[in-house]
């Protein structure tokens, strides 16, 4: 076990950032801490790093109690959201900083820096200053700097948050390949579910100072533990219905147990027959993409709903805006009404 977090709590004045959080990170795994802002994910990362001290609970790094260890003794690599490069130092001096403060010989530093520059594919920029680099280059230099002293764990705080979409995608793929190459236990914080699902081996979904679910990207996406996880991991549609003989039906007046069903846009089917579907009106359609996005208005509840159809099905149906149709979930995830709050994301 590379990182073990046990019952960690942290409060900032009245605000509770973490409430008895426990987490295990096995060696060599890439973990995403995913959650909305204010969910405590960055605080958890900073406590693992030693940049923040937990009020209660303990942190172990490679079976060693880290509470006695200051951030500079933990031998972690930390990558900051805004890179935090040393502006007055060249790329070479930035990357070699960790070895320099350990008073290693110049030649060793030089060799290691060259090795890292090859790793981040930025050879030949040793003597530039951070101000002369692009955002993506800076982030890679920051990563190389964090890796220089061969840290036991690598921690990244919103590593792609300050980059534009295209660079972010590139760097994400690159980081995945890099991790497969060097296998250092890594934890990164993100509020972007797509990034977490695509990049991580494990996803830790956090909300309101607690961990909601831990699992592989498939597990958290296909088997969310609760409505919050379901809603946070992608576009989702709500159906208010009643549970009748193991079936959710659109029957607002019935006396069976009321439930809320959740379905992703691609799990919905549009038809013109009324058979146990929810009546809806087509608002608008957008066929530019792999799938066709159709926005519907549920006529009974006056709520909008997003449906994703395949291009073939869309042409087959030949929908028109304003048309009245029925929508029916092919699959529906039901959580008991008591836990199904309306989460604000």
């Amino acid at each position: 076990m590379s990182i073990l977090v046990k019952d960690v709590s942290k409060r900032f004045g009245e605000h509770t950032a973490l409430e008895r959080v426990s987490l295990e990170v096995p060696s060599g795994v890439l973990v995403a801490l995913l959650g909305p802002s204010g969910s405590g994910k960055t605080t958890l990362l900073r406590i693992i790093a030693g940049l923040e001290v937990a009020d209660e609970g303990s942190v172990f790094l490679h079976e060693e109690d880290a509470r006695q260890l200051d951030v500079r003794e933990r031998n972690i690599g930390f990558v900051f959201q805004h890179y935090a490069l040393f502006r007055h130092m060249t790329v070479h001096d930035n990357i070699g900083f960790a070895l320099k403060v350990r008073r290693r010989p110049k030649q060793e530093i030089k060799t290691r820096v060259r090795e890292l520059l090859r790793l981040i594919q930025l050879e030949g920029i040793e003597y530039r200053y951070p101000a002369q680099l692009s955002g993506g280059q800076r982030q890679r230099v920051a990563l190389a700097r964090a890796l220089c002293a061969r840290p036991r764990v690598l921690l990244l705080d919103e590593p792609f948050g300050a980059l534009d979409a295209r660079v972010r995608k590139e760097l994400r793929d690159w980081l995945r390949r890099l991790h497969d190459e060097i296998h250092v236990t890594s934890v990164f914080v993100t509020h972007d579910q797509e990034e977490a699902l695509e990049l991580a081996d494990r996803v830790v979904v956090m909300n309101h100072a607690r961990i909601e679910q831990v699992g592989t990207p498939e597990e958290v996406y296909h088997h969310p533990a609760n409505p919050f996880v379901m809603r946070f991991l992608g576009q989702v549609n709500l159906f208010h219905g009643r549970l009748e003989e193991g079936q959710v039906v659109a029957d607002p007046a019935g006396d069976a147990t009321p439930v809320v069903g959740y379905a992703r846009p691609h799990q919905l089917e549009i038809s013109r027959e009324s058979a146990s579907g929810w009546p809806a009106r087509v608002l608008r359609m957008n066929a530019a993409g792999i799938q066709v996005r159709v926005d519907l208005l549920l006529t009974q509840e006056n709520r909008t709903m997003e449906v994703a159809l395949s291009q073939e099905r869309f042409h087959e149906l030949a929908l028109r805006a304003g048309e009245n149709v029925f929508v029916k979930p092919k699959q529906l995830k039901v959580f008991a009404e008591a836990t199904a709050e309306d989460y604000v994301i």
Binding site: A49, G50, L51, D70, V71, R72, E73, N75, I76, G77, F78, F80, H82, A84, L85, F86, R87, H88, M89, F97, A98, K100, V101, R102, Y129, P130, A131, Q132, R145, A146, C148, A149
Partner: protein, 274 residues
């Protein structure tokens, strides 16, 4: 045809015109007058006015004391700015406003107060003089009073830069294994360097031109505690205007070239800003 080169903020030529005009009237014209007055002397007269044992002693004293005071202010100012930015303590705002006092106080008052403090029966002098530290009417007195006069400059130039420092850079240094001292020396200090040089230059320049306070604390003994501005006044009192301006020209030229060097140093220290 419309002017395609116009900027969002208009008035470039107007503001530049005013700048040049003010600089000419307020700075260049008096300097030119000073030079032309000095030029009324022949070269031999000029040389014998500016290059005697007494004037040389005065130059060394003027630049030496201003330099030492600016160095003291460099460290003292950094320390004060650090305390004011990094720590919270009762009376912080009062301390903060006290920093500017030397700018507002008539310097003659500062000189009188310092002189009375350090004389043999003054508040501080009664303890220092028996220890052999004579701070009144000595070179030490000049350094002390110039340090007082120059105090605000380093504090006020370093303070905003220190406030704007990225706390993440310090956390990054710590996470990379740097000790507090290494973080200060390798991360914080280089970031403050341009501001420190600016503050030093301002304090130094202020010290070079100071007259009002020094005249009260130094005793103005030729060869020992007589600074160049005092010498100029002495020449003026003898109605030797040409000689007085000649010394002034020398002061001006040395000061200007030193400030140019300091400016170059500052620019060099900012070389990493693209």
């Amino acid at each position: 045809m419309p002017n395609v080169n116009r900027k969002v903020l208009p008035g470039f030529s107007l503001s530049l015109g005013y700048t040049v005009f003010y600089l000419s009237v307020l700075v260049l014209l008096p300097i030119f007058a000073c030079f032309s007055k000095a030029a009324s002397l022949s070269f031999d007269e000029f040389w014998s006015a500016v290059w005697t044992d007494r004037t040389r002693a005065a130059y060394v004293l003027t630049f030496g004391t201003a330099f030492i005071a600016a160095i003291v202010n460099l460290f003292l100012g950094l320390l004060i700015a650090w305390v004011l930015v990094r720590y919270e303590f009762p009376g912080k705002r009062l301390v903060d406003s006290l920093i500017d006092l030397p700018l507002a106080l008539p310097t003659a008052v500062a000189g009188l107060v310092y002189a009375s403090l350090y004389v043999e029966n003054g508040w501080l002098g009664q303890f220092l003089v028996p220890l052999g530290i004579e701070a009144a009417y000595t070179r030490l007195a000049i350094v002390l009073v110039l340090t007082f006069i120059g105090l605000p400059f380093v504090v006020r130039t370093v303070q905003p830069v220190l406030e704007d420092l990225d706390p993440e850079a310090e956390e990054a240094a710590a996470s990379l294994g740097a000790t507090r001292w290494q973080t200060f020396r390798k991360v914080i200090l280089p970031a403050l360097f341009p501001a420190l040089i600016t503050g030093f230059a301002l304090a130094f320049a202020r010290g070079l031109g100071e007259y009002g306070s020094v005249v009260f604390v130094s005793g103005n003994m030729p060869y020992r505690t007589e600074i160049a501005p005092v010498l100029i006044v002495a020449r003026l009192e003898e109605f030797a205007y040409g000689e007085a301006t000649a010394i002034a020209v020398v002061l001006l030229v040395i000061s200007f070239s030193m400030l140019v060097v300091i400016n170059l140093l500052e620019r060099w220290s900012k070389r990493h800003d693209a």
